[in-house]
């Protein structure tokens, strides 16, 4: 329903906007920046700070005729005696707004003077300096001297830890409530609030632990002063000392757009390092937000543990080597085995790296395998997100079904956007084995016993909640199904994917624009691997025996003792990694790869959007990009692959794989105007998020032809019994993953290896909450901490992945007090 257009004049310039548009937004459309503090384009206006005061004139309406009074051929305009706030006033036909008059500018100047009476003179030591809305607006609108007696300035706490990641300076706060409103309206974690009143108003946190929200870092972007700063960056650098590089977050399949701020500094021994990760605007992906993991878990790229030189095994030790020697040794072995090799690729690799690995496998006649605990992805090439489909635009016409996934932990920005879609009218159905945060926003919640995932989705009509959900699914114009791996291993998730695809087909949504099957993958580019035909192998251990194994960006030995044992039966192991892992410790050749911060490339998000990332810092040591290493290795075996230009590799990808058709680095770098406009001189409007000048990315096309799927032996449906618990693997946002662990500020959030039990289950097996217990599985024992939560189903043990508890599929375990 298109809204009627309204014509107004702002500072003499005409603009036509839909009825109901706020004056401040109408002004933006013609490049007029009305100063604001409390107003933010993504939140409801509150009119608190009074900075946006403007003169507003409206046509005088004749009370009898109801028509505007005409004078000299023009409507007579009556200006109000009071200034009005542009952020709360919607435009009306014939309105005239004046922000540049003496009256308006005096009003704005007076508000700045009021704010500065309580604000400390901290600029020389305040992190916000240089990107501070208060500084900028004071320069533009304030006076150079204060009439406030300095001794009357109030003193408040200046180092208040709101949580362990965000610090509050109470003196700097101007009580704009942006942080509180962000947490309430957008994040859905209302953990901040005002306390006391008047001049004594303080920001406090109501959660224990403090500021308990994975979106907390965003408040430091939108805070208009230096009141909120991050533990990661505070006192780190001045904004003008840093350079920027457009990049992507690589921690989950959402693919949030980021800007990396880097600086060469003495503190880091003269190296150029990433000082902080900032959001980059992409309204189709992450808008202007990041989750705390993406914001704070960047230290891995600069970690002193990084592999910087090739290593070769001499005797039982790995010794540093030259690239030539290492490649020669690896190449010789590759030639010797002919086709008896397997390439094992992880989902953290860029599209270009994956292309070369597949090309090497195909070109030399070996096997290519995808290292993943979650299956079913080839189906998404037929029925994934396509064309312009976008969470940010979904509403009443779409039904969104989330199955077996805790989106808050697995893909935070999808959680945020789907929750907002539900608020706009989309029908949200959440099906899960345990209660998760997204259920609060769902129209229908389906609870199943772990093991019944596929059965439940396949027969949605079976339960009362399922009946209502089935109705919604069948009757919606569009159906978007997200499936995850909560409580599922490779087989279970593959079966669930098939079931979800079947649901889309049965209801006539498969392959249609606006409908989709989306996998909530564990890695940033799992989607890219699926699109290029990588498939997982169910019996990986058998696949290693007597083969040359080329392991890239994954750690099978560290994840599974059976795979560690299997690797020992391989003929030769070449690894390509960022860090030493259990796998590299078993390898014959270890080749040091570059992190994404040191090179360019592209990634494919779970929504099938290909986006570019650009180099931010120089390469560490002798590291090389993954695709280049693969090309060098291939060359030793007589196969020519592109090893220099990642741009060329993407072109080849576009030629070879149907879904990538038409993509190029140039097309990925295209940008178009986004709304709200951020990142210009008016940092007070949207916050310190960066504008996107380096590329919005492009959607993959849908493939009409059927794609090859791996035949999976269906998973055995496991059930807990009286003597054993059923352990189900789940995903938590923070874990001991190699790209997260180096960020020490997150260690309190990562915690130690733990299992979650229902309090009744814990008392039944006589283990107290908080105690250490011995977890026995398949003959091996691990020490874990036992935690209780009433949301855990009976006789189930929740096992977060990547914490050192090596269970990848639902399994029967025993737990005994240690």
């Amino acid at each position: 329903m298109t809204k009627q257009l309204v014509n107004v004049l702002i500072d003499g310039q005409p603009v036509s906007v839909p009825a109901g548009t706020l004056i401040v937004e109408a002004a933006k459309k013609i490049g007029i920046d009305i100063p604001v503090f409390c107003y933010h384009p993504k939140m409801e206006p509150v009119g608190m700070c009074r900075m946006c005061l403007v003169e507003v004139g409206r046509p005088v309406i004749d009370r009898v005729t109801g028509q505007p009074v005409i004078e000299d051929g023009k409507p007579r305009i009556q200006f109000g005696s009071k200034l009005e706030t542009a952020c709360t006033t919607p435009v009306s036909e014939g309105m005239q707004v004046v922000g540049m008059s003496e009256k308006a500018r005096t009003g704005q100047k007076e508000i700045v003077e009021f704010l500065l009476t309580s604000h400390p003179l901290d600029c020389p030591v305040c992190d916000k300096g240089g990107e501070c809305p208060l500084q900028n607006l004071t320069m533009q609108h304030g006076s150079s001297e204060s009439r406030f007696n300095f001794e009357d300035k109030q003193h408040q706490q200046k180092h208040v830890p709101l949580g362990d990641l965000i610090w509050l300076d109470r003196e700097r706060c101007i009580q704009c409530a942006r942080c509180i409103r962000f947490q309430d309206e957008i994040a859905g974690d209302p953990v901040l609030g005002f306390f006391k009143r008047g001049r004594a108003t303080d920001i406090v946190t109501y959660s224990e632990p403090g500021f308990d929200s994975i979106f907390s870092g965003n408040t430091t972007d939108i805070c208009p002063v230096g009141a909120l700063t991050t533990e990661d960056f505070r006192f780190g650098a001045r904004p003008w000392e840093m350079n920027s590089a457009a990049s992507l977050c690589t921690h989950c399949p959402v693919g949030c757009n980021t800007t990396l701020n880097v600086r060469r500094e003495a503190r880091s021994n003269g190296r150029m390092v990433v000082k902080r990760v900032m959001p980059r605007q992409n309204e189709q992906v992450n808008e202007i937000w990041l989750c705390d993991k993406g914001r704070f878990a960047h230290h891995f790229s600069a970690s002193p543990e990084r592999l910087v030189k090739p290593l070769v095994r001499i005797g039982d030790q790995l010794k540093e080597s030259s690239w030539d020697d290492a490649l020669n040794l690896a190449g010789r072995s590759l030639n010797e085995v002919h086709q008896d090799f397997i390439v094992l690729a992880g989902g953290l690799l860029a599209n270009e790296d994956l292309f070369n690995l597949k090309a090497l496998a195909d070109g030399l006649g070996g096997k290519a395998a995808f290292y993943t605990h979650m299956g079913g992805g080839s189906l998404t090439a037929n029925m994934g997100m396509s064309k312009d489909a976008n969470f940010g635009e979904m509403g009443a016409e779409t039904c969104i079904l989330v199955a077996a996934s805790d989106l808050y932990h697995e893909a935070p920005l999808w959680y945020l956007r789907i929750k907002q879609a539900a608020a706009r009218g989309a029908t949200l159905i959440v099906a899960g084995g345990r209660e998760t945060r997204l259920e609060k926003y769902a129209a229908h919640v389906i609870r199943y016993a772990y093991g019944d995932e596929s059965q439940t989705i396949g027969a949605l009509q079976d339960s009362k909640a399922g009946q209502a959900a089935a109705q919604a699914v069948a009757s919606s114009q569009n159906l978007v199904v997200l499936y995850g791996s909560d409580g599922l291993g490779l087989e279970g998730s593959s079966t669930l994917a098939e079931t979800c695809a079947g649901l889309l087909e049965k209801t006539g949504h498969a392959g249609k624009e606006g409908s989709a099957l989306i996998g909530v993958w564990s890695h940033a580019n799992d989607q890219g691997a699926w699109e290029m035909g990588f498939q997982p192998i169910q019996d990986l251990a058998a696949a290693f025996e007597n083969k040359l194994v080329y392991v890239v960006a994954c750690d099978p030995a560290g994840d599974d003792p059976a795979l560690a044992a299997a690797l020992k039966t391989a003929k030769f192991v070449i690894t390509q990694e960022l860090f030493q892992t259990e796998t590299t410790r078993l390898a014959n050749v270890v080749l040091p790869a570059q992190a994404f911060t040191e090179r360019e490339g592209s990634l494919t998000s779970g929504e099938r959007r290909v986006q570019r990332f650009y180099p931010a810092i120089p390469a560490l040591g002798e590291t090389r990009p993954d695709f280049a290493i693969t090309a060098s290795l291939a060359q030793k075996a007589g196969l020519e692959l592109e090893g220099v230009s990642s741009l060329k590799i993407l072109n080849m990808t576009a030629s070879k794989y149907r879904s990538f058709e038409g993509l190029s680095y140039a097309s990925l770098a295209e940008v178009s105007p986004q709304w709200p406009q951020v990142g210009r001189g008016d940092v007070y409007y949207g916050g310190t998020t960066y504008a996107n000048t380096q590329g919005l990315g492009k959607r993959l096309a849908l493939v009409k032809e059927a794609v090859s799927r791996t035949e999976m032996k269906p998973a055995e449906r496991k059930r807990p019994n009286d003597s054993e618990l059923l352990a189900v693997p789940i995903t938590h946002l923070y874990d001991r993953g190699a790209t997260v662990l180096p960020s020490t500020i997150l260690h309190a959030h990562i915690g130690e290896a733990s299992v979650w039990l229902h309090p009744d289950t814990a008392s039944r097996i006589k283990v107290g909450a908080g105690n250490m217990a011995q977890l026995t599985y398949n003959g091996t024992a691990t020490l874990v901490k036992v935690l209780v939560d009433e949301k855990v189903p009976a006789s189930i043990a929740l096992l977060p992945r990547s914490m050192g508890i090596l269970i990848n599929s639902p399994a029967a375990i025993t737990l005994k007090v240690a």
């Binding site: 206006p45 509150v46 009119g47 608190m48 700070c49 009074r50 900075m51 005061l53 005696s81 009071k82 200034l83 709360t88 009003g107 007076e110 508000i111 003077e113 009021f114 704010l115 009476t117 309580s118 009439r147 406030f148 007696n149 009357d152 109030q154 101007i174 009580q175 005002f194 006391k196 009143r197 008047g198 001049r199 004594a200 108003t201």
Partner: protein
Amino acid sequence: MTHILLRHREIPDINKLDIYRKNGGFEAFKQVVTTMKPEAVTGVIKASGLRGRGGAGFPTGMKWSFMDNKNWPHYVVANADESEPGTFKDREIMERNPFQFLEGVAISAFAVGANTAYVYLRGEFWQVAAILDDCIEAMEKVSLLGKKLFGTDYELKLYTHLGAGAYICGEETALLESMEGKRGQPRLRPPFPPSYGLYGKPTVVNNVETFTNIPMIISNGSDWYKALGTADSAGVKLFSLSGRVKKPGNYELPFGTTFRHLIYECGGGIINDRPVKAIMAAGASSSIIKVDDKVLDTPMDYASVRTLGADLGSASVMVIDDTISIDWVISKTVEFFKHESCGKCTPCREGNYWMMHVIERMKAGEAVEANTELLLSVAKQMQNKCLCALGEFATMAVVSGIERFPEDFTASSIGGGHD
């Protein structure tokens, strides 16, 4: 004269339900529910000229007619927050003639189609709330509240609700926020409560005294009420007289009575028979009127008082004699508003704090002339910028005090007053 509102002064036991009913109580409510259409009731109140008694003086019938009939349910909320310094009329009504007040609430609920009504009392009135709870229980026992009232389909429930000690919760939208369990801070207006009120539903918010007039208007007719008072301000008003008078207290008088009558006839004149220097007619939220004979002979109604450069407001008349220095008066009002500012908007939050500090320096004798100029400037700077009336009214005594009584703001005269 026979009281219309403070009827307990003639009928001491009128706070007992049977006595109230023996004196015609709840006849109006019965008449309205059994014989009148809701719109007709609103029509009677409109015709009577009744204006809100909380201070704004908005025509009551007109407010009721603004209720959005496309949005349901409707609510009625009685504003018993009574926190304006110098105002103590609603307390007397609720303690001594509570049933007439509650009957007014009930009639208004019927008129706007509400089945639930609330009385929001300031937190300090917990004893008054207990009295009202007893009254409500008594009314329920004899089916004056509940389902199928007087054999019709109309049902009504009344509840009391206590605030927690904030003056700002007397502002109607902050009151509604407080009732909803949130911080008591004013909302953006528009929309106004008759379109978007309690829980986002159309709500009538009126003052206790306003409601207390309603049963009498229904019983005696709008013409009878209109004949009382003046053309601009119909009916009677409770004037809370305080300050340097011999007999402070609540006086029920028709609009149009002069200040002279109130102060000398009712109030017995000034202590020690000193001359009147100034009047604050609307409690702490007043412009200070410089008193001369013309002022004393001005009739007390909304329009006439405005000619004196002030507002009648809630008619909390505070009388200042020549033993009081105006700078002392405004130091008290500024301290009050600084304490009560909710902090939501910049000018009120920062401005009141600033004014308080300037006044403290002035009281200590520091740069009195320069600080007086600064104080006036800061007060004027707050005007026409605040989110609600608290910030605006906080400036009135300061601006009028300095402009009309400059002699009280010199280095030699500063600090003369009573503590």
